[in-house]
């Protein structure tokens, strides 16, 4: 088994690890965390989707009050999917290409279908972060995951947008990078000082406040793009020291797809149409009318990678699709990752998230089946 074990401290709950493989053969990670004594439960399920190069570990940080704790206490049943971009899985470090099309077409819909099979009539929510949310938006607009009870998208959703400077470095620098290296690791201890990646680490260390090279490449430079993944002071010290464990190697072959989406400011398909990928829409935004559940967009006010993408997404969706139930919540003083892994995330983010879930816990009819 190649899946790295989940880093979790269970207190009054049981972890059920489910062997799970996507229909195209990719190994994924799926687990259910059940509150003890909640057998035959009526708890609504919440599927959590991490971002690229992170993993479900971000929802179970033992050192802070994490989202899984909060959901369990609020009466929900968390399900964690490690889609193929997870650092608990080997895909990012292999040399087999995947795109977010695969995530939207296989990983998410199949996990949702499996969970549905297990929970029966209970309601199912999805809380998705970053590229998990982008991929989810494509699954939703393709009509592959109908009838969700509600969706929370953190950081970015259907309208990815970065700053001019990040654009330049991500799109041009990324181009140089991807033709030379298949991967960009972030764990400096693993690659060592005399590796070919040292120039990127050196670039990331320019005018950095923190001495940790892994923190520099994530916080000060976001893989050399000059963006920033989190507000440094929002992390617990233990989380900070575990960054290399929480974030894995970046596969460079996803960069062109990211570039295509960012330049179009909308979620677009990578693969040409045809039998396999034709089920995904060419542009998710054109089919946003297929979204059949309430959506809560969350973003840190200081998101320094996707900026105000989610506010933009809110504006676009409410203007172009006024029938949708969309809301936008800005978390003051937070960046991109810290609304999930920050030490105050439970107070500032999970509280409002749970309130949204509670609102739709019973209300509204379940669409589809």
């Amino acid at each position: 088994m190649t899946l790295r074990p989940l880093h979790i401290q269970l207190d009054g709950a049981t972890l059920e690890q489910i062997p799970f493989e996507a229909s195209d053969g990719a190994e994924l990670g799926l687990c259910r965390i059940a509150a003890d004594g909640a057998a035959g439960t009526d708890r609504p399920a919440v599927l959590l989707l991490h971002g690229l190069t992170a993993s479900s570990d971000i929802f179970t940080l033992p050192e802070t009050r994490n989202l899984v704790d909060v959901l369990l206490d609020a009466g929900y049943e968390p399900w964690l999917l490690d889609w193929r971009g997870s650092c608990r899985l080997p895909h990012n470090e292999r040399r087999e290409r995947y795109s977010f099309d695969d995530v939207a077409l296989f990983d998410i819909p199949e996990a949702v279908a499996y969970i549905r099979g297990r929970i029966g009539e209970r309601r199912l929510f999805v809380v998705a972060h970053c590229l998990g949310a982008i991929s989810l938006s494509m699954s939703m607009t393709a009509g592959l995951v109908p009838g969700l009870a509600g969706v929370v998208a953190q950081g970015v959703f259907m309208t990815p947008k970065v700053s001019g400077r990040t654009r330049l470095r991500l799109h041009l620098g990324g181009e140089l990078l991807r033709t030379r290296w298949a991967h960009l690791p972030v764990d400096f201890k693993k690659v060592g000082l005399r590796s070919r990646y040292t120039p990127v680490f050196a670039l990331a260390s320019l005018s950095a406040d923190c001495d940790d090279p892994t923190c520099q490449i994530l916080q000060n430079s976001a893989w050399g793009t000059g963006a920033s993944l989190f507000a440094h002071e929002n992390l617990d010290k233990i989380t900070h020291d575990r960054l290399a464990e929480l974030f894995g190697t970046l596969p460079t072959w996803v960069l062109p797809h990211l570039r295509r989406m960012e330049l179009a400011h909308s979620v677009v398909r990578w693969n040409p149409g045809g039998h396999r990928y034709g089920r995904l829409p060419e542009n998710a935004l054109d089919h946003a009318d297929r979204i059949d559940c309430p959506v809560m967009l969350v973003s840190g006010s200081d998101n320094k990678i996707w900026l105000d993408s989610n506010e933009l997404c809110y504006d676009v969706l409410t203007r172009r699709f006024p029938q949708l139930d969309v809301r936008y919540v800005e978390v003051p003083g937070y960046g991109h990752m810290d609304p999930i892994i920050g030490r105050g995330a439970a107070l500032d983010v999970f509280g409002p998230v749970v309130r949204f879930l509670d609102e739709h816990r019973r209300s509204g009819a379940v669409v589809g089946s």
Binding site: R178, D286, S301, D315, P332, G333, F350
Partner: protein
């Protein structure tokens, strides 16, 4: 109009009193706010008191008058018991109630007190004394035998406060002795003032940055009401109230003004045992009320907390003080360990109360208490949420400055945003090595030129006036055209004592903060930054929503404008464009803020199109949106919207029309043409489009009109005009270049996507290596 009377010859209160009387008596003109209050009050009230006890300026006895005043006041207090010794503000009266009370006393008892009298000491007996003294009657006609509460010394007006302060300070000597607290991060903290502006933000920061459980002291009738009050306060400051917050706090019903916080002995004893830190944020912040009115919250409350800290295991007490303790005109330096002001030279009751609290706690320090003084200056709006304290003087100044575009010639504005103040204060509370010292949380003071520049950057050029002129200007404007949201500031600035406080604040030196700065550097906390235009933005927007400040609007004279001519042909939607039409528009902006935040341009002018009407149509309302929705394509493809025109037109017969036009960027090289071509649709109001076509800005007119033709508000200086013009051109050019380049970039990226990436290259390299190995093997064999 009234000249400002900073130093009234007949003592504090005279000018303010005269003014209030004018307001109350003149009623109608220029005093709409007060008049409105009075009108509300004009409803038939309870019958006037029995004439036997007094009457129009007649012989009131002190007791009689005091109880008459108390019964009038009781009306505003919704059933709270009021007697001659009740401080009306302590009993819950607001400033508005005070205005109503003054009017009621005048009308019904013919007792003319000023608002300042009420603010200075709002006990009915003292009000009665004041009035009797003013009218020359012996104040102690029927000498009160009842001992006043708290064994106060006999009072004789101006020296009252000093005597009372002396007595209050002596209370510190009754505190127990104690040792040093355990130097560990706190686990259970008592927080007072959690429903206040700073307190609510500190509540969150303490939860975020420590693992402590918080006990919040909240004044209410029941635990449920207390929780409700806290939840409402947090929500009003844009802080999230949720189950996650609830699980880490305990709401404790109590009152800081009461001995032992109004708690039972058991509760008090338990609290003394279980707490390991006390954070005192609670304070009555009111620049009008006198020392007497503020002391129970600000001084006695602090002493009660000191007692709690010194009872049982020793606990540190972190006291939010204020730089107001330096508020003496002529003070030369404001360092953290510099001597504070002379209390006999402090004018406002608030300054005295803050001074006395510190002095009393310093005495407690000598008895072993570890007490930290955290002294903020003005605490202004949150840099991210914009949440602010509507009754903060600094917010009031900002409001006046933006509304009237005049600023007082201040030296420094010692203000810091609430998020920073709260964060640093929290860090001190959580760091044992930092306890027991004085810290200035004044941030980085704003200087006058910086403030003026910030305003100019936002397109609001302000005029600087001397303090006296500014004050006179502001008060006269308020009299001519009262603004309800600014009434509190006007009231403060009409009060001589509060006026001195404000003047001292603005003309004093910048507070220095070496210890705080060193602490921040040591713990890598966010350094103090100036509260500049960017930091203020959210605050301004929020204040604008609440009507406290006025952002530049469409109705204002434009900041910058220029003409735009367009020619082209329109025709029926399904036919070919056949009718020559022309737009003669004027494009204008009210401020740069409008551009950067909303990316819109206002449009006026005329549209000539015989298909719509034989006469030119007038643009009633028009707006151009630059790169709408960041230029996200309307449908999948590489066509990115560049500009959207939306005009509401009216023809000479009074018929309404709509017109919508799009300029679109495409992946083609005719950028110049794309930038000038507008695809138009138009129709009758409420109906679908009946006309469509293409309009174009003639290439020849472009430079003449849109560059050389730019006109800037002539009220600005020449330099400001040039800057405005250049800023506009730079901003618009940048937007257009970005918008026009996007489709081309996408086409280019599609080409780049064809390049092979490292996986393929490495595969080739691997193949080559294999081949070489084979060759070598062949050679060897």
């Amino acid at each position: 109009m009234r000249e400002p009377d900073v130093k009234g010859p007949d003592g504090p209160g005279s000018s303010g009193r005269r003014h209030e009387e004018e307001l109350v008596e003149s009623g109608g003109r220029g005093a709409a706010a007060v008049a409105a209050l009075l009108a509300r009050f004009d409803k038939p009230g309870p019958a006037t008191p029995p004439a036997a006890t007094g009457g129009a300026g007649g012989a009131w006895s002190l007791d009689g008058l005091a109880s008459a005043i108390a019964s009038k006041a009781a009306r505003f207090l919704h059933g709270a018991p009021v007697d001659a010794e009740t401080d009306l503000f302590e009993a819950g009266a607001t400033s508005v109630d005070a205005v109503e009370l003054v009017a009621a006393l005048d009308r019904e008892l013919d007792v003319r007190l000023s608002l300042d009298d009420v603010f200075a000491d709002a006990r009915p007996r003292r009000l009665a004394q004041r009035w009797l003294r003013t009218t020359g009657q012996p104040a102690l006609a029927t000498a009160p035998t009842a001992a006043p509460v708290d064994e106060e010394p006999p009072q004789s007006d101006d020296n009252d406060d000093l005597a009372l302060i002396t007595a209050d300070l002596a209370r510190a000597d009754r505190l127990p002795w104690c040792g040093d607290p355990d130097p560990a991060p706190p686990r259970r903290i008592l927080l007072t003032g959690a429903t206040g502006f700073l307190g609510s933000h500190m509540l969150f920061d303490l939860l975020r940055h420590s693992r402590a459980h918080l006990v919040c002291l909240v004044r209410a009738d029941s635990a449920q009401a207390a929780e409700q009050r806290l939840a409402e306060a947090l929500t009003s400051f844009a802080l999230p109230w949720s189950a996650e917050v609830k699980r880490r706090i305990t709401v404790l019903v109590g009152d800081i003004r009461q001995p032992r916080l109004g708690l039972s002995d058991d509760r008090w004893a338990a609290l003394a045992q279980e707490l390991d830190s006390i954070v005192n944020v609670a304070a009555a912040v009111d620049f009008l009320r006198g020392y007497h009115s503020l002391r129970r919250t600000n001084v006695l409350g602090a002493l009660t907390l000191a007692e709690l800290a010194m009872t049982g295991p020793a606990k540190p007490l972190h006291h939010i003080s204020s730089v107001a303790v330096f508020n003496e005109l002529g003070v030369t330096s404001m360092g953290e360990d510099d001597p504070v002001a002379h209390v006999d030279r402090l004018a406002a009751g608030y300054d005295k109360a803050k001074w006395a609290a510190e002095a009393a706690l310093r005495r407690a320090r000598e008895r072993g208490l570890t007490v930290t003084f955290l002294r903020p200056g003005g605490i202004v709006g949150h840099t991210r949420t914009g949440a602010y304290n509507g009754h903060d003087i600094s917010s009031g100044y900002m409001s006046v400055i933006s509304r009237y575009r005049t600023a007082p010639a201040m030296r420094y504005l010692n203000v810091a945003p609430v998020d920073w103040v709260s964060r640093i204060a929290t860090a001190v509370v959580c760091e044992p090595s930092a306890w027991g010292q004085n810290y200035h949380l004044t941030g980085r003071a704003n200087t006058l030129p910086e403030l003026v520049r910030d305003m100019a950057l936002g397109g609001m050029n302000v005029q600087v006036l001397g303090w006296d002129d500014w004050l006179a200007d502001f008060l006269s404007r308020m009299e001519r055209d009262p603004v309800p949201e600014l009434e509190f500031l006007a009231r403060v600035l009409r009060n001589p004592a509060a006026q001195k406080l404000c003047e001292a604040t603005l003309l004093g030196p910048a507070a220095t903060s070496e210890r705080t700065d060193a602490f921040i550097a040591r713990h890598k906390l966010p350094p103090a930054t100036r509260y500049d235009a960017k930091a203020q933005l959210k605050n301004y927007e929020r204040m604008a929503r609440d009507g406290l400040v006025v952002l530049p609007r469409r109705e204002d004279p434009p900041h910058l404008w220029f003409p735009e001519t367009m020619r082209g042909k329109l025709g029926p939607v399904d036919g070919s464009p056949d009718t020559r039409c022309a737009f003669a528009l004027t494009l204008s902006i009210a401020s740069m803020y409008q551009l950067t935040e909303h990316r819109t341009i206002h449009v006026s002018g005329t549209v000539t199109c015989p298909r719509l009407h034989k006469d030119p149509l007038t643009v009633e309302d028009g707006e151009i949106w630059v790169r709408p929705d960041e230029g996200i394509p309307l449908r999948h493809g590489t066509d990115h919207p560049l500009l959207r025109y939306r005009l509401a037109l009216r023809d000479s017969d009074g018929q309404a029309w709509w017109l919508e036009g799009w300029k679109t960027a495409r992946a083609r090289t005719d950028y110049w043409k794309q930038a000038r071509t507008l695809t138009v649709e138009a129709g009758r109001e409420g109906e679908p489009a009946s006309l469509s076509g293409v309009m174009k800005v003639p290439g020849k007119s472009y430079r003449r009109e849109q560059i050389d033709g730019i006109r800037v508000n002539p009220a600005l200086s020449l330099q400001e005009q040039r800057t405005a013009k250049l800023t506009w051109l730079l901003w618009f050019t940048q937007q257009m270049v970005q918008g026009l380049a996007e489709p081309t970039l996408r086409a280019g990226a599609d080409l780049l996507d064809l390049r092979r990436d490292a996986i393929d290259r490495d595969k080739d390299r691997f193949q080559a290596k294999l081949k070489k190995l084979d060759k070598d093997r062949e050679r060897l064999t």
